[in-house]
């Protein structure tokens, strides 16, 4: 038995070597892409940081905050709704994490379930943002508060929107067999991106609603 197995293996030595090479090539490509993706996140983070810097600068140099426009002081933002909406987004981060864990353990059904949950929560957050935009009592052009609020949350909302599309594409790819249990860099990147978008929201939530 054992000898036959060894002979069988030896017969396929060339094939096995080829597979090792493919694995190694995959590993090298994955290394490059992972590092490149991290650098992309770093630069994206700096883009947000620059606008956050602008917001903080305008806020601390303003004589009053919220600023006074046409003799009226602008209202504060609604913390209650934003806290609820934040929890929706953070929850989607956790479900995405579960989705990736299940993919690693070849549990495709659970992966699909958690991924759909993530997408639904992401869309829910976007709808919440849309609601927030419709009820908030300031305008983009009216004040520095509105300028920084709509620019930053708009950029973030755009990132969430891109993320939702990205996750949907990843789900389709995964179900078409693009990824395996050991080669799933796309899913890793999607998860990292999604966590990153969540963490940006932590900063925006604290700066606009809690400060």
């Amino acid at each position: 038995m054992a000898a036959a197995a060894v002979q069988h293996l030896a017969g396929h030595e060339a094939v096995a070597a080829r597979y090792r090479d493919v694995d190694r090539a995959y590993g090298e490509t994955r290394d490059l892409r992972l590092l490149g993706f991290m650098f992309f996140l770093v630069s994206d983070c700096i883009l947000f940081s620059s606008f956050i810097f602008a917001y903080v600068y305008l806020r601390v140099s303003a004589p009053t905050w919220p600023p006074i426009v046409d003799g009226h002081q602008l209202p504060w933002f609604d913390t209650s709704f934003a806290a609820m909406n934040s929890v929706v987004l953070f929850g989607s981060g956790v479900t995405m994490h579960f989705a990736l864990e299940n993919w690693k353990h070849l549990n495709t059904r659970k992966f699909n379930g958690w991924l759909i949950a993530t997408i639904v929560l992401g869309i829910g957050f976007l709808l919440g943002q849309a609601h927030e935009y419709s009820v908030v009592n300031i305008s983009w052009q009216g004040s520095t508060m509105g300028a920084s609020f709509f620019t930053l949350t708009g950029m973030h909302g755009f990132h969430v929107f891109i993320g939702v599309c990205y996750l949907a594409i990843l789900g389709i790819q995964a179900n078409r067999g693009v990824y395996t249990s050991s080669k799933y860099f796309g899913l890793t990147a999607g998860t990292l991106y999604w966590h990153f978008v969540d963490v940006i929201w932590v900063a925006l939530f604290s700066l606009f609603y809690l400060w």
Binding site: L35, G36, L47, Q141, F150
Partner: protein
Amino acid sequence: MHAGTSTTHDAHDVHDHIHPPPEGFVRKYVFSLDHKVIGFQYFFTGLLIMFIAGSFAELVRLQLTDPKGAIMSHQAYNTMFTMHGTAMVWLVLIPLVTGALGNFVMPLQIGARDVAFPWLNMASFWILPLAALILFSSLLFGGPHAGWTEYPPISLADGTAGALWCAAIFTIGISSTMTGLNFMVTIMKMRAPGMTWTRMPLFVWATFATALMNMIATVALSAAVGALFLEHVFNVPFYDAARGGSAVLYEHMFWFYSHPAVYIFIIPAFGVVSEVIPTFSRKPIFGYKMIAFSSMAIAILAFTVWAHHMFPSGLAPWLQLPFMILTYAIGIPTGIKIFSWMATLWGGRIHFTTSMLYALGFLITFTFGGITGVFLASVPVDLHAHGTYFVVGHFHYVVAGGAVMGFLAAIPYWYPKATGRMLSERLGQLGFWLFFIGLNGTFLPMHWLGLEGMPRRYASYVDFAKAVPDAVFWNQFETAFSFLMMASIGLLAFNVIWSLRHGKVAGINPWGARTLEWTISSPPPYYNFKKVPEVYGRPYDFDKPLPYRNTDNELDAFPEYGKTVMPTPQPVGAGV
């Protein structure tokens, strides 16, 4: 990562290259994935835009031959110097030193077959002509007027032209960021086996420092001009003081990028000089680690000095002092480099090739520009000199006398590798003297004119010419000399094209240089290295054998290899 691990698997063979051999004209020369072709594309695009932006500068100089303004309206003059600065900084210098030199040389020097993300590299390049089109189309709407910095509130009066300016800078910023990211990953992950960080050629160190700044700082600029764009197009109040915005905010965000931007031009030039000087002195570079680490020190310090551009902008006094001290501190790593190059020259067998002349000229003009930079770092001096031609003179000594000189040193040095032919030395050396004399004749008088109070960015200087009668003479003098520089660049373009057919055949290693690109044929095949070489030491020890193993056996097919100016050392174990 793979330091010291010598892995030469079959899978590293040529057909496992990241992309297959290009076929057809479009894949080969237009939408090419090959870093060398992309380097050429950057080179020719950058050179073309350099002529356009240089002509703008000549128009500016012609205007100043008469104190009343010789040839154009004040409005047109403002557009001309704005477009000159903008195009030179973003569409010429950064693409030339990172895009052209970095793309062509860096992967060859680390023994890689391409950059990490060839597709991204191609996209980075094709964004450049797009950005150029957007920028130059702003001329149709009257052009931007507020100088290359486009400070609000003045720039807010530019209307559509200002919005187009913002769009162009935002677009080119994406390209820079992607190039920086690409080069960072390439240098960190794709070095040949055995090439540890302290065995990298110094040009690679310089490219790494540049890529870091490109990746981090450019995004801050994108944010600054992005907000300016929103203000132009949607009237969103970020910078409009009447609605609570702050123009100083723009200056902070702008200079947080644009101070590193100056080092983005200059550090690759440092890298070029660090390659050229040891090669043509036939001596190991002095202080390898000091030069390498000072590049990184400059890159990191660059992020801490931006506000020295804003001393007259009403910066709080307690902020001025740290920025002044940090700016002085940048003089230390820069001085370390200058002294290391001088120590390398000391006692060397110096070959006065065109490259070496440019490198030596660089030492003179860059040091001069650096020293006037130290003057300007001092708050009291800066408050006096900031709005004058002293700053123009300083900046052009650093940029034209530093970055452009370094770039011009690189062209004759790597041209043989890129094309297989040598550039004409006679034309090259004539070009050097034209450039060097033209540069000093143009920018040196600006220093004393500035100290006497000639204001910069003015379309006419009638009052100043009354107060200082010499001013007219010196301005005409500058204009005359500026055409020498233009002639030199024209000569270079002619030389580059002429030598493609008529230059001497270069062979593998015409200079007897020792970095990895000189071990493969000229021009290199699309996969660069048939076998991935292994590295056993630094490339600069001219008295020792080459520190490489597993170099391409193509070397044997080129009998002229070794017949160089200097006997070339054999690879390790070659005679065994």
